[in-house]
C-alpha cells in the first residue's frame, strides 16, 4: 500500500471513529463513555454525565454538594472548611479531606465499599492514630472497626456522642412512650370548601369512570376544594390526562424535594426519565418492572392514599428478603393493629415509618414526611436516632441495626450482635470521671 493510500485510509478511519464518537456524544445513551460500573448510589443517573462532569471529563466542584450538601452540613463532624486551616496541611498531605472525590472515587466497583467510599477501611488511623492514648477504652482496637454499626461515622455521628449514650443508659427494649410523630396534616374534615362528585369540572369530552370520581370525592384533595382541573390543567389550561410531577410539586414542595434526592426520584431530578423497578439493582417483583415511579405510582392517582403508600406500594415492587419478611415481623402486627384501630395512631410500624419517617426540622416546624428514602440509610445506624428510638431503647436499637441477619429478617427476633459503645460509656460513668 502506498504512503498516500495509507494516509487516506488513516484519515478515513479516524474520521469514522471520531464521527461515531461525536454522534454518540449527543445521544441519550452515553454507555460508550462510561469508564466502569458506577456505585449503587449513582447508577440510576450514570447516563446524565453532566450531572457530575464538565464537558471535558473533570468532576465539577459542586457536583457532589449539589445533591449531598444539605445532609452533609446538618451534622458533619468533618466538614471541608475544617481542613482549610493551614495547621491541617500535614493531614491533608495524607488525605485531602477537602475534596469529596478523595474518598469517593466513582466508576471503581472493585474499590468501592458497602457505604460508598473508596478509602481503605482503616483510613481513620491517618489522623487518629493516638486515639488509644486519648481514650484508653479504645486502646488496641483495630482501625478496621471504627465505622462498625454503633461506633463512628465520618460525616454524621449523631447517634454516638457520649453524653447522648449516657443519657439513655439502661433503657428497656420497648419504651413506655413507644409512638412516632403524628401526621403533619390530620385527616381533613369536610368543610365549606369541600367538593362532591356533582362539582367535578372535567370537560365533557374526557372519558372517566364513576369509580375515579368516587375515589376523588373521598380524598383529601376534594375535601380541601381541589377540583379535577386543579391537577389536570396544562400550562394553557388544556386538559392533561396524566399530570406531570411538577403539578404535585406545586403544592407538595418539601415532599418533592426529598423525592428528588432519593432513589425513587433522582433520575427525574437529573433530567432523565422516571425510575422504574426494571432499572433497579435491588431485587424487584417481575410484574412491577415496567412501572414508572412517581407520586401516583405509590399514592394512587385519585384516592391519594397515604396508607397504601406506606406499605402496599412498597411491597408491590420490592422483592428483597427484608421486604418479603416484613409481613411476618412484629412491626407489621403493630401496623395491622393501627390500621384496624385496635391500637392508637402512631403505634404501627409500616415501611414508611422507618424509610420515610415523619420529621420536624425544628420545634415549631410542621411534621413532614421525608420522601428521600435514603436519608437515614448509608449507614443504617443513622436510622437509630430519627426512627428506632421513637419506640426502642438506644442500646437495643444500636444492637439491632448492627445485626445484618436480623435486618434481613425485618427485625423478627432479638439481636445477636452487641455494640460495645454503650458499655464503654457506662463503664466510664461508673468510674466517676465526670
Amino acid at each position: 500500500m502506498s504512503t498516500r493510500t495509507s494516509i487516506l485510509a488513516w484519515l478515513l478511519l479516524t474520521g469514522l471513529v471520531g464521527g461515531f464518537g461525536a454522534f454518540r456524544l449527543t445521544s441519550p445513551d452515553q454507555t460508550l463513555y462510561l469508564p466502569d460500573q458506577t456505585s449503587h448510589g449513582h447508577h440510576q443517573i450514570e447516563m446524565a454525565c453532566a450531572s457530575c462532569h464538565t464537558p471535558f471529563g473533570g468532576v465539577k466542584d459542586d457536583a457532589c454538594t449539589n445533591c449531598h450538601g444539605e445532609q452533609r452540613t446538618a451534622a458533619d463532624s468533618h466538614p471541608a472548611s475544617k481542613f482549610n486551616d493551614p495547621r491541617n496541611a500535614g493531614n491533608l498531605e495524607k488525605i485531602d479531606a477537602r475534596r469529596c472525590v478523595t474518598c469517593h472515587v466513582e466508576h471503581w466497583p472493585e474499590g468501592t465499599h458497602r457505604e460508598g467510599h473508596t478509602m481503605p477501611v482503616d483510613f481513620c488511623v491517618t489522623c487518629h492514630a493516638d486515639v488509644g492514648t486519648e481514650r484508653p477504652s479504645h486502646a488496641g482496637m483495630s482501625f478496621t472497626t471504627c465505622s462498625d454499626a454503633g461506633c463512628h461515622n465520618y460525616h454524621d455521628n449523631r447517634a454516638l456522642w457520649e453524653d447522648y449514650l449516657k443519657k439513655h443508659l439502661g433503657e428497656p427494649v420497648v419504651l413506655a412512650s413507644a409512638k412516632v410523630l403524628p401526621r403533619g396534616v390530620a385527616m381533613v374534615a369536610k368543610g365549606p370548601k369541600s367538593l362532591a362528585a356533582s362539582n367535578q369540572d372535567a370537560p365533557r369530552t374526557v372519558a372517566f369512570s364513576a369509580a375515579l370520581v368516587s375515589e376523588w370525592e373521598e380524598s383529601a384533595h376534594a375535601r380541601v376544594g381541589i377540583n379535577c382541573s386543579g391537577c389536570h390543567s396544562g400550562t394553557q389550561g388544556e386538559w392533561v390526562n396524566k399530570p406531570m410531577l411538577t403539578i404535585c410539586a406545586g403544592c407538595h414542595t418539601e415532599q418533592n424535594k426529598g423525592f428528588g434526592l432519593g432513589k425513587h426520584g433522582m433520575r427525574v431530578a437529573a433530567g432523565l426519565g422516571p425510575m422504574s423497578p426494571g432499572l433497579a439493582r435491588l431485587p424487584m417483583r417481575a410484574e412491577a418492572k415496567e412501572l414508572e415511579v412517581g407520586c401516583e405510582s405509590c399514592h394512587g392517582g385519585h384516592s391519594v392514599n397515604a396508607r397504601k403508600a406506606a406499605v402496599d406500594s412498597c411491597l408491590g415492587c420490592h422483592d428483597d428478603e427484608h421486604s418479603r419478611s416484613y409481613q411476618r415481623s412484629p412491626h407489621f402486627k403493630l401496623w395491622e393493629a393501627e390500621i384496624n384501630r385496635t391500637a392508637s395512631p402512631g403505634t404501627g410500624v409500616s415501611c414508611a415509618t422507618c424509610h420515610m419517617p415523619r420529621e420536624k426540622s425544628s420545634s415549631s416546624a410542621a411534621v413532614v414526611v421525608q420522601h428521600n428514602q435514603n436519608d437515614n440509610l448509608r449507614p443504617s445506624e443513622k436510622m437509630v436516632r430519627n426512627v428506632c428510638t421513637s419506640c426502642h431503647g438506644v442500646g437495643f436499637s444500636l444492637d439491632a441495626v448492627a445485626d445484618p441477619e436480623l435486618v434481613r429478617h425485618n427485625f423478627a427476633g432479638r439481636p445477636k450482635k452487641h455494640v460495645a459503645s454503650v458499655d464503654m460509656v457506662e463503664k466510664r460513668a461508673a468510674q466517676g470521671k465526670r
Partner: protein, 196 residues
C-alpha cells in the same frame, strides 16, 4: 496610635471581605506607604474576634442563662440550647474559611478537651507556652507550613467567667481539672500568609 488602630480595623474588615492583607490600604494602616503590616492585621482581627466573643458571652449567653431563658451546652443542636462561646468562635473560624482563605484562626490549648485542638506546629507549641508563662503578652513569629510562609500570632485566651473554668474542670475529656477564673486556658492563633 488611635488612627493607626482604626485604620488597621478597617483594613481587617476589608480583608474579611476578600482582599488580601498586602493589597490593603497603602495610605491606611498608620500611614505606612508599604501598607498594613501582618502584625497590625493580626491584632485587628484579634480585636474583632475577641470583641465578638466577649459580646456573645456577656450579652447573649450570660444574660439569657441568668434569666433562666435558655441554657448554653456543648451539644447545642441536639439539646436546642445556645452554643458555648468557644464553639461560637470555632464556628466563625470555619465559616470564615469557607468565604476567605487569606487568613485563618483557631482556638488551641496545651490542655484541650478535643485533642485535635492541641498544638501541632512548633510555632503553636512555642506560642501557647509563651502566652501561658507571660501574662498580658502576645507571641508573634513566622513559620513555614507546606512550603508557604505565614505570619503567626498567638494571643492568650483566659477563662473570662467561672463557667469556662468549671466546664473544663468537669469535662471527662479535659486533661487539666484545676483551672480558675481569670487563668490562661489556651491561645487564639491567627495566621496570615506572607509573600516570601
Amino acid at each position: 496610635m488611635g488612627h493607626s488602630k482604626a485604620g488597621a480595623m478597617v483594613c481587617g474588615a476589608v480583608a474579611l471581605a476578600g482582599v488580601t492583607a498586602f493589597g490593603c490600604g497603602g495610605q491606611g494602616g498608620g500611614g505606612a506607604a508599604a501598607g498594613i503590616q501582618p502584625q497590625q492585621m493580626a491584632d485587628a482581627l484579634y480585636a474583632v474576634i475577641a470583641a465578638d466573643r466577649a459580646t456573645y458571652a456577656g450579652q447573649v449567653v450570660d444574660r439569657l442563662v441568668k434569666e433562666n431563658a435558655i441554657k448554653a451546652t456543648e451539644r447545642f443542636k441536639e439539646e436546642k440550647t445556645l452554643p458555648l462561646p468557644a464553639q461560637m468562635l470555632r464556628m466563625g473560624a470555619e465559616h470564615a474559611q469557607k468565604t476567605n482563605s487569606s487568613f485563618s484562626y483557631a482556638l488551641l490549648s496545651q490542655w484541650p478537651i478535643n485533642q485535635q485542638n492541641k498544638a501541632k506546629t512548633e510555632a503553636e507549641k512555642a506560642g501557647l507556652k509563651f502566652v501561658a508563662e507571660n501574662p498580658g503578652k502576645n507571641y508573634y513569629t513566622e513559620e513555614k507550613i507546606a512550603d508557604k510562609t505565614y505570619f503567626t500570632a498567638v494571643y492568650p485566651d483566659k477563662a473570662v467567667a467561672a463557667a469556662c473554668a468549671n466546664c473544663h474542670n468537669e469535662h471527662a475529656d479535659s486533661p487539666r481539672k484545676d483551672f480558675k477564673e481569670g487563668e490562661i486556658m489556651g491561645g487564639l492563633v491567627i495566621r496570615i500568609p506572607v509573600n516570601k
